[in-house]
């Protein structure tokens, strides 16, 4: 694994993902495929910001 990983960034992503999951648990608006897609795009966007 690359040693360039930003753990602060990783924590932020964890927080965002959990928030997304918590909301979806209540509203049930997004199905599994949609959730996977959303999380994937979230990670891609964060990684793109600084690299």
């Amino acid at each position: 694994m690359s040693s360039d990983l930003d753990h602060y960034k990783a924590k932020k992503m964890i927080k965002d993902i959990l928030e997304l999951e918590k909301n979806n648990l209540k509203t049930k608006k997004l199905n599994n495929d949609a959730m996977i897609d959303k999380i994937r795009k979230m990670i891609e966007a964060e990684v793109k910001k600084c690299y």
């Binding site: 993902i17 209540k26 996977i36 994937r40």
Partner: protein, 664 residues
């Protein structure tokens, strides 16, 4: 959250408008609704589910309109079903109501429309209004999250399952732990990130790796896909095998319970078999005795019966000297010689047929070996011998006959006993057959476990092989600039997944230990004894008896009453944790009261345990609402009367009409 009232309109068997008011008083916090089976108790619990979340667990879940009302509808007419619950949450009053219209499209055909829910509120300062349609679901979940609602609304079957430590009970407890600490959120996140090799964030990143133009990568990708397909197939097979193991285990446990419950029948069936074996042994003995009797009789009886005659004859012959007609020292052969010579000793001519011949032939009868005297002597000797040997005949035959009669009587006794036992166990479980079934399920379970172990090994190997190919792909792929971005995304996804997994494992263990503590706190108050409950990482629980080693723990008696107490201890422990969790999510942390709504909570408890449970429940929840059968209320009322505020009875007017009547 405290429930104030529930209003039903044409909901299932509740025809017209019917209202239940619930006690929210802190001292007298118990509301009881009495009703026999099929009177509509479970419908009331489902009414809560429907009004809050639009769910109803009935066979005809899509048709909730009272059937009498539906039957009366004419074509083109419309009727509605409505349920409303009034409650207090966070110093605000809410009326949550759900309505569903039904249209009669033709004779006998009534169709439901989509249900609609709305919330009216009234704040402590008197302000009223309606919650925005888009915010209704969120508001309901803030008041009582749907994933936790099942820990506040308990039906009888779940109450029983929790205490029985079977698969459904364990799943219920596992779900409670996930739901209570928000582990559901973590669990979902982990699944979305890394749940499947195709259908997950990590899977999608891996699939997006650019391999065009790279022969090695294309080959490796092909190999990896093939192995993954095989792996998924094995995982599916493993799931199937686990289901079968679950089925076999539950069947085996069910049958073992049947055997346990029918131990008396088993003992009686065993007694029948023992008696039958003894009957067969005695019948063989009778056959032997019969043969010997016939033998003895044939050989000895004539002499036995002849005895008096022979005795008298011997006496007579002994006293008589007249039988000795023989010429001394003369033998029958001498007569033969004389006849052959043709001349007697006295010179008389002997010719066959003359007088001399006849005299000599007559004389022959009195000479040995045919002499009467000899015969008499022989007879007297034989008579002595017969007498001696027939002295024991009577005793022998008598003994044998006695033995014979005893065997016959014993057989008759045993047959009567078997007939009596058969009558006793008529209609009861065939224990022998059940035992055979247990053996069969044990064998099937063994085979399935072997298959499971084999699949687990294969899956492990395949996963290792997949990881190996994966690493090869990564090291080849990420040499290209194009794939470096994907590599980084993958690394972050891996890091996030591993962090969440670690956190999940730690939190799950914490909450499980906490649950065990809470359950035991409540268990010791309900149970009159010194046992305690231990929960392992698979949510299997064991009730430990003090001063017993591990080997003997399983043998300690576990009654239905203990199962009931354990159920309530779990329910109370879970409710406690759920309340803590909901309260802790408020920024302004305060202890929010919550109700406990239970359907048929006392069905399997004996009088003593009903009293214990009744004593503790009002202390565990701020509001207790129970649906109870009359027979159970008899025992519970002795303890609960002091905490009782409202009492209702469900009056079943017909199969399609129940009325709620308040008991003053």
């Amino acid at each position: 959250m405290l429930l104030k009232n529930l209003t039903l309109q044409n909901f299932r068997q509740y025809k017209g408008e019917q209202i239940l008011q619930f006690s929210a008083d802190s001292n007298t916090n118990v509301t009881v609704i009495l009703g026999e089976n099929t009177s509509g108790k479970t419908t009331l619990i489902q009414a809560f589910n429907w009004v809050l979340y639009g769910n109803a667990h009935f066979d005809t879940k899509d048709f909730l309109l009272n059937l009498e009302i539906a039957n009366q509808l004419k074509r083109g007419e419309t009727e509605y079903v409505k349920v409303a619950v009034e409650l207090i949450h966070d110093d605000m009053e809410y009326i949550i109501s759900r309505e569903q219209l039904y249209d009669c499209v033709s004779y006998g055909e009534v169709k439901p429309r989509q249900s609609a829910v709305r919330i009216q509120y009234k704040s402590s300062d008197g302000q009223t209004g309606f919650i925005e349609e888009n915010d209704v679901v969120d508001t309901i979940n803030e008041i009582l999250p749907e994933d936790l609602s099942s820990y506040f609304f308990f039906d009888g079957e779940r109450i029983g399952n929790l205490g029985r430590n079977d698969k459904s009970g364990r799943q219920d407890i596992a779900q409670a732990v996930k739901g209570v600490l928000g582990l559901n959120v973590l669990d979902n996140a982990i699944n979305h990130l890394a749940g499947g090799y195709k259908n997950s964030v990590i899977g999608k990143f891996k699939n997006s790796i650019d391999i065009v133009g790279n022969e090695n990568l294309i080959r490796l990708k092909g190999e990896l896909n093939a192995k993954r397909e095989k792996l998924e197939g094995k995982k599916l097979s493993l799931e199937d095998v686990k289901k079968m193991i679950g089925y076999y285990t539950s069947e085996k446990e069910r049958l073992e319970q049947v055997l346990k419950d029918n131990k008396e029948t088993a003992d009686l069936q065993g007694k029948i078999e023992v008696n039958e074996a003894e009957i067969r042994r005695l019948e063989k003995r009778i056959s032997d005795i019969r043969k010997r009797l016939i033998n003895d009789f044939s050989s000895k009886a004539p002499f036995y019966f002849m005895q008096p005659l022979v005795k008298n004859a011997a006496h007579l012959l002994n006293d008589t000297k007249e039988f000795d007609y023989g010429i001394p020292h003369m033998h029958s052969e001498s007569i033969d010689f004389l006849i052959k010579r043709g001349r007697c000793v006295c010179g008389t001519e002997i010719i066959t047929g003359n007088e001399a011949f006849h005299c000599l032939m007559d004389q022959k009868n009195y000479l040995p070996p045919q002499s009467i005297g000899t015969l008499v002597r022989f007879f007297i000797n034989d008579a002595k011998h017969y007498q001696e040997s027939s002295n024991e005949t009577y005793e022998t035959i008598e003994e044998r006959y006695k033995d014979f009669r005893e065997c016959v009587n014993k057989i008759s006794e045993l047959r009567s006993e078997n007939a009596f036992i058969s009558k006793e166990i008529q209609g009861k479980v065939d224990v022998g057959q059940t035992e055979q079934q247990v053996v069969q399920f044990k064998k099937k379970l063994e085979d399935a476990e072997d298959e499971k172990d084999s699949l687990v090994k294969e899956i492990g190997s395949l996963e290792t092989e997949c990881d190996h190919i994966d690493n090869q792909i990564r090291s080849l792929a990420f040499a290209s600039e194009k794939n470096k971005h994907i590599q980084l995304c993958l690394e972050y996804a891996d890091l996030i997944t591993n962090t969440l997994k670690g956190f999940y494992a730690k939190k799950e263990q914490e909450i499980r230990i906490k649950l065990e503590q809470r359950v035991n706190e409540i268990f010791t108050k309900m149970y009159h004894g010194k046992r305690k409950i231990v929960i392992n990482e698979k949510y299997q629980y064991a009730v430990e008896t003090p001063n017993l080693t591990k080997e003997f723990q399983a043998m300690a008696d576990k009654s239905t009453g203990l199962e009931t107490i354990t159920s309530f201890a779990f329910i109370s422990g879970i409710v406690d944790l759920a309340r803590e969790k909901i309260s802790s999510e408020d920024l302004d942390i305060k202890s929010e009261p919550y109700p406990l709504v239970m359907d048929a909570p006392f069905s399997n408890a004996d009088e003593k345990h009903v009293a214990n449970v009744s004593h503790i429940l009002p202390q565990v929840a701020e509001q207790v609402i129970m649906f109870v059968m009359h027979k159970d209320w008899m025992h519970a009322s002795k303890v609960l009367d002091a905490r009782l505020n409202k009492k209702y009875e469900l009056i079943k007017k017909s199969e399609t009409h129940t009325e709620i009547k308040e008991c003053k």
